[in-house]
Each structure stands twice: as C-alpha cells, then as structure tokens.
Symmetry: C2
Subunit: 513 residues, 2 copies
C-alpha cells in the first residue's frame, strides 16, 4: 500500500467517504487509490470553487467532513472563496492538496507555489506530509481537526498537503483510535443565570445547533412561556424550518433594519450566535447592531452544545409546549413574477423534507414564505462570497440523495460557479435550480444609491449591468447537460416548477424578473 492508498483508506476508517475532486498530475497516485477503494466516492467538479462549496454543503447536511482533492496552490486558490463561506459556516471539511515531490520543490518548476501560505487564511489546521509512512497519521489527525468542535476563527477546515513522493512511496493505513470530540456542554451556572432573565423584551439569537430541530423546539417552548422573540442571524449556515416547528424569524440585512427589528429588545441572548454587526461599514451607521441600553448575554458559542442548553433552560422554567407554525400551503401565484411569487410557488409545490440552498437576496425572500408551509432545511450563504448556492446544493444532494434540493441563485452569483451544473448532470443530482435573472448586480446599484448618489452614471452603470449581452441561462444549463426553461410570469414559473419536480435529476428555471 502506498501513501496515497493509506490516505484514502484512513479517511474511510474515520467515516469520511465523499470527495469533490479536480485533480492534476501531482494527484495521480491519489486518483489511483480512489480507483482501488470502492467505499470512497469521488465526484468530479470542473472548477475548484465547486469542490469547496460542495464539500461545505455535504458537511452541513451530513455532519461529517467531505474532502476536496485539489492541485497545488493554484487549484486551492480557486477554492478559497467558498472555503471562506465554509469557515464562516463552521462546517467540517478536509482539503487534500497535492504538491510537488519534496525533492522537486527546490527546482521551482512553473506550478510551484507556497501551498501553506495559500491555505492559511482559510484553514484552522494545516500540515504538509513529510514522509509517506506518516500520511496515514497525518490524515487521521486531519479528520480529528475537522471534527474538533473548536472555537477557531477559521472554522473546522483542515488542509493536508501531500507531496507526490509521499503518495507514491509506502504508506500505513490507520484505524480510528479515539472518538471525535463532542460539542462541549454549557456550564449549569450559565444556564441557571440566563434562564430567569428571559422575558418579553428578550431576543434569543440562535445559531449553531440551536437551529436544529431539537434546538428550535426548545427555543419555541421558551418563547411560548416567556413571550421572548426568536431570531436567526442574517446568514445562518443551516436552519430547520417547517409547519411542525415554532416560528424563528431571520434578522434583516441592512444595519438600520436590524436596529429597527431589535428596537424593543432590552436583552439579547446569544445562543451559538455572535453579536450582530453591520455587513459593511456605512458613514452614517454603527458597526455593532446592539441597541443602546440592551444587555448582551452569552449562552454559548457555535461549536458548543447550545441546543442542549436551550432544552435545559426550557425544562428549568417549566416551558413544556411550543406553538407550531402549522401553516397551510398557499395557492400557486399568478401574475407578475418576482421574488415573492417565486417563494409562494415554492411554498405551494416544494416537497416536504426539501433542502433549500440560497446565496441571493431574491432567494432569501423565500424563507419567510416557505417556513410555515414546507418542512425543509435552509442552507444560507454565510460568508458573503456569492457563488456558493449551486455548489452547496451539489454537496447537499450527494449527502441526502432522497431529498429534493432547491438552489435559489442570483444571476450574478451563479455566474461565479456555473460549472456546478455539470456535476449536477454528471451525478444526476436532484437539484432544481432557480436563477433570479434580473440582469444586474442589483445589490450594488442599491448600495451605490445608499452612498447618497441620486443618479448612476453610465460608466458606473456598466459595472452593475448584466444585460449587455443578456445571459441565456437555458443555454448555459443545456450546454452542461441540465434541462432548463425560462419563466416570465408566475403561471409559467409554477408550470416550470412542476416540470422540474416531475423530472428525475437536475433542472434549471431561469426566472426572468
């Protein structure tokens, strides 16, 4: 067994069985090992940002890391944007990055780069293997690092760099010798201190495993008893939602709207969430979005077992019942097509147990419409780097092959990583993509006008405009083997959605807004 095979077998021994790959020559021994180990599944992506986003989506849904398989610093570089989102999501992920043989590196061949330096801004753990015999232990350590539930600002991303000679010489497969670290429980004293303070002017800001079914149900019990309010942050990694669950609102995007939402909040309880801050700085807005005079109370961090803390708080105050949303399905929408009617069509037609992957403002509007009507897992853009909705959908679909996945994408964001469509077709993934085709970077025009400019000049407008030429998403999807159609009215959209749901595999709807 060579080092490459020891790597793949050790991953499998630790429960890591899915890889999103865009290999090059320095990864050929790893490809050969993948060929030999049938328990390990490698899905080819035609751009590395699809690999990293898909691994994020897989990890969010399965709770276990997927790996990327990328080619030196340049390949890893293409993965950085979605690794940034992944670190903000706190998803466990393992990068396996091939590198030149150790003896070859000093020759500075054209593709040579400082892979560790490229990995640094998006990794909580980095190691370069130094011997082929050590690769098995190195990757075992990588799995524990990814599953470490540690409070690292770079999340749970482990990057293992594998020089080719460490892959081709003899290796040693490793078994899992210790369990992964569990989420730390919250101190009883914290729970006993927080519980009696919760009242009708309290907001519980939920993130991490507070947004699982168990966490949300417990939060719902607390809300029913105390009349407190429940919110997710603006960009939660994963929220469970549906008619059987209590209602959890989502904080809005712009700072003045967050402050308005929290205007009557005198106690902000952070349950796996951070203090809300403005996404960008504005000259007339504060950075911290805690209202004046509001107390901030920390229950626990994202990597801790804050769901358990909610259960203990609920039990402690005798909060036994929650009110489920129990909403009915709306009718399919009619008339003008817009973000609201698209959400309504999804609320009317989406199967229960759907997964919704969103990296667009238009898609985000569907949360409020859908959450009372359809049981689903909501996967949100976390780090603000658009272009992760499609890739995350790829990973979620591979993690949960029995569930329907919706990817709700802006046209600008989808263009960064449109290669996800090819992998969706290759793997026949049950991903129904909706591209909100407004033919502009709409948010930028909004932000531009917020600067106090009354009119957008021609030369500035060209930097927001996607209409010259117009992108034809039906062609871009079909060119990658994904059936697609365009909808220009709500009726056409609902019909297209029904066609999408009737087909086995990927489908794309260009919603012309």
């Amino acid at each position: 067994m060579n080092g490459a095979e020891s790597l793949v077998r050790t991953l499998v021994n630790h429960g890591v069985t899915q890889c999103f790959a865009n290999p090059g020559t320095s990864e050929m021994h790893l490809v050969q090992a993948i060929d030999r180990v049938s328990e390990f599944n490698a899905s080819l992506c035609l751009f590395e940002g699809v690999c990293s986003g898909a691994a994020d989506g897989y990890g969010r849904m399965s709770g276990m890391p997927a790996t990327t398989l990328l080619h030196l610093g340049a390949g890893l570089g293409n993965g950085i944007a979605n690794l940034h989102n992944c670190r903000r999501a706190g998803t466990p992920l393992i990068n396996v990055i091939g590198d030149h043989a150790i003896h070859h590196a000093p020759y500075d061949a054209p593709l040579t780069s400082d892979v560790e330096a490229v990995a640094k801004p998006v990794s909580s753990w980095i190691r370069s293997s130094r011997t082929s015999n050590g690769v098995g232990l190195d990757v075992a350590d990588a799995t524990h690092a990814a599953m470490g539930n540690h409070p690292d600002p770079n999340g749970n991303i482990a990057t293992l760099i594998v020089p080719t000679d460490c892959a081709w010489h003899d290796g040693i497969e490793r078994r899992q010798t210790r369990p992964f670290v569990e989420r730390a429980k919250i101190d009883t004293q914290v729970i006993d201190t927080v519980a009696p303070q919760i009242d009708a002017n309290t907001v519980l800001l939920l993130d991490g495993n507070a947004l699982t079914e168990d966490g949300i149900e417990a939060a719902g019990r607390i809300a029913e008893k105390t009349r407190c309010s429940l919110f997710t942050p603006t960009f939660p990694a994963r929220v469970e939602a549906g008619p059987q669950l209590p209602s959890v609102n989502r904080l809005p995007y712009f700072p003045e709207h967050v402050l308005g939402t929290l205007a009557n909040c005198s106690k902000l309880v952070l349950v796996g969430a951070d203090v809300p801050v403005s996404f960008f700085a504005y000259r007339d807005q504060p950075s911290s979005l805690v209202p004046d005079g509001c107390d901030v109370i920390h229950v626990g961090h994202r990597h801790e077992d804050v769901a358990d803390a909610l259960i203990q708080i609920a039990d402690g105050i005798g909060a036994n019942n929650f009110v489920a949303m129990n909403g009915e399905r709306p009718n399919v929408p009619q008339g003008r097509l817009g973000a609201r009617s698209i959400g309504q069509a999804l609320a009317a037609l989406a199967p229960h147990e759907s997964i919704v992957s969103v990296d667009s403002g238009g898609g985000g509007a569907a949360y409020d419409v859908m959450r009372g009507c359809v049981r689903h897992s909501w996967l949100n853009l976390t780090g603000g780097s658009i272009g992760d909705g499609g890739p995350v959908a790829v990973g979620a679909a591979l993690a949960c092959p029995e569930r329907t996945v919706f990817a709700l994408l802006g046209d600008g964001g989808a263009m960064y990583t449109l290669q996800y469509l090819w992998t969706a077709a290759r793997e026949n993934l049950n991903i129904k993509s909706v591209v909100f085709s407004n033919r502009q970077y709409n948010i930028l025009e909004v932000e531009y006008l917020r600067m106090g400019v009354n009119q957008v000049g021609d030369r500035a407008a060209r930097l927001f405009d996607l209409s010259h030429p117009a992108l034809d998403w039906v062609a871009l999807a079909k060119g990658q083997g994904v059936p697609a159609e365009k909808a220009t009215t709500s009726e056409e959209f609902s019909d297209a959605l029904e066609s999408a749901l009737a087909c086995d595999g990927p489908y794309l709807i260009e919603a012309e807004l």
Copy 2:
C-alpha cells in the same frame, strides 16, 4: 476629491488606464471615481479569474500594468490562479482590493478576511492604505513596484488594499515624479566572456525581452554565425514569431523529451531564462534537465535587458545577418480534424499581426506550424494553471484593438474561466476562440499511464472524462452572447475560421476531436 478619485487619477497620471473589475459594496466609491475619470477604462468581468488573467494579457501586450478591482479576500482568492500565471510571466499588474473600513474590521463581519495573507503568495509588493490622504502616494508606489523590473520570485504584481473609509474621506492626487526603472543592462564583462564561447553545440535559451523582435533578430544573427541553436522555454510568456524572423524552437514538455532535445548541447546559455526543470517530478526522471557534462552559462535574468546583450554579442562577433523563416502559407487542411490540422488552418488563414493566446497542449502544437507563416505574438500559459488562455486573450484584445486575437483552449481548461466569453461579447473584442473539445482531461490520462498503469479503472477514468455529459460549447458561448459553431472535420474547421474572421467581434469554434 476623495481617496477613491485620488487613486484613479493617480493611476492615470502614471499611464495606467485599464481596469478589469468585479467590484462589490466596499468598492462603490472606487466605482464612483471611475464614473468621473473618463481617461480610465473599466471592463466588467463576471469572475475574478477573468480579471486577473485579462490584466496579465493586457500587461504582456502593452508593457504597462492594468489593474484588477476586486472585492476583499474572497474576490482576490478567485483571482489567485491567474495571478500565479502572471507572476511566472513577470507581467506588471496592480491589484486594487477593497476592504472593510478600518474601524469596521475588528467587528469581524461575515466577509472579513485577512486580505494581505491572501495576497502574499501572489504579490511582490503589498500595502494596505491607512489614511485617505495617503492613498494617492500608495498607488503611485504601487505603479513603481509593478514597473520595477526587479528580480522578485513573485514577479511584478503590486497589491494595494483600500479600506472603504480611505476611499470615502479626502484624498490627494499624485503626479508621476520619477520615471519607471528601466531594465538593467548586462555587464560588458559578462558579454565579453560569453560571446567567444558560443559554438555549434551551444543552445541559447531565450526568455524575457530576448523574445522580442529585436532580441530574436540578434539571436538569429548569432545563430547564423556560430551555428548555435535557439530555443524558448516550454512556457514563455510572449514570443514574437513570423516569416520575417529567424526560427526559434520551443523546448518540449516531458523531461525525457527535453533531455533528448538537449542531448548534443555542451553549453546552455541562459538569456533571460531559468535552468530548464521537469514540470512535475517522476520517479525515473531527474528534476534538472541540464544534460550531464553540459556547462550552464548565465547571461542575465528575465527582468534585465537581455535583448541588448544579444545585440552586443552579435555585433561583437561580427554576426551581421540572420536567416528569416520566410515560409509560405500552407493550403487549408483536409480530412480528419486534429491539433495539427487546426494549426495548419491557422497558418493558412490567420491575419498577419495576430495574437495567439494558448493554454492547451493541442493549441501549443500550432506554434511549430504557424511561426514560419504568420507574423504573430504568441502568449503562452506560463505557470501551468490552465484557464488563462481566454482571459489573457481578453486583455490582449483590449491592449491591441486593431489586432486579431486567437484563444486556443482545451475544453477542460476553458471551463475554469468560461466567463471570459461574456466580457468578449460585452466589449465586442476581436477574439476568435478555438476550443479543442476532446471531452477529457487528456493530459491526466497520459500522466496516469506514465505511472506504469496499463489500464485506467472505471472510477479513475471518471475523474478524467468530460463526455458524460458532453459539454456543448456552442451553447455555452451563445448563452454569453458569443456566436459559435462546431467543426468536426478540417474542411468544416477552415470554413468556420473564415466565418469567424469575417465577423467583427468574438466568435467561438468548438473543434470536436
């Protein structure tokens, strides 16, 4: 004038007038400044790797840096792969990267990242502006860093990070106060020592400005007098070629082929080039590709004036004439379509003064066919990160609007950065793209078999295969506003090439191999 406008005006004052932009909210003041300064042209790209590759292509053709305009660490991250190629090309380039306001950074908003750390592996100069008044000086320094002709392993890439508040507060425009550093002349003693050593068993390995018209003509004079051989490295950034120039061969790719080519070489003279090394390590091949017993003689580095050194050597040894290739145009090819016949069609039909941008093995084969027949500038992949051929073509077309640009791309490589097509359509660039559609990562299958594997297993083959589903490049081009057609025979290809040349603007030919 705010800091943003001081930045744009200072760039113009230093002769930097072209930007490849994918801005976000933190760059809105820079967009506003671009709106105001009509001498500064910003071209929108829908993926940051197109921005960085296009800036590389612009710099290779114009000799002046273009700027990127990118959005924090995530946006810069997407540019890294082609910045890697740019650093290997030694092209002057200025990254302008927006960042959070200085007072906002500590709040660690979702898009916050360590931009300097992301920039480090692909920048020879990095600065974060700290005051709006200082932005003008900062960007003036950036232009001098990019134009520095210095021997930095990270090339001539200057990265200026501009926090939003440094853009929105008052700024000061700066004039150019000193000329850019010129290429250093080679010491006369070196020239006098090298000149008499050149003989029939000598190879002059040319790179940097040795591959300009002046450099190649002087090298041709030396070759005619001494019977030495002339070669470019495997991956030169830019080569001038055509029937009026002497013949310069290109070193092959695989190490055993390079060693075979240099088998009779007893003196290897490096004129702006590095020692040839194997692109990857192989178990049975050396890293350094200098034959045993061959003397290595350094004339100068890439950033030095090695063209002048060649002229001095030629003059010194009384080498007054060179033999031009003076080739005739071949007939258009017939029959089976392949890399050779595509090269032949280009040699038959390409206009003189074309530019050829190449990041594929199939495209690379055109060099030997075209160089004797068509006067052209050849822009090659330099750093081995495929996906730069299309973006480099965009930059070259903007730098040289009167010239026809060919982008000769592999299908695998073109998928990394297919968004270049949209910018080509938006700007109506005269780019004729040829996608070598063999529906696989062919080089990987070759490399896999080189490991001594006789048969590629099904699971490995799926990681090289692009045929399930087949990419439809005609659809992918039309979806972005670029007219396109498919060719399956040499006759169809020549017809398509004539259609492409007859049309004003971009055109794509999918060459089905």
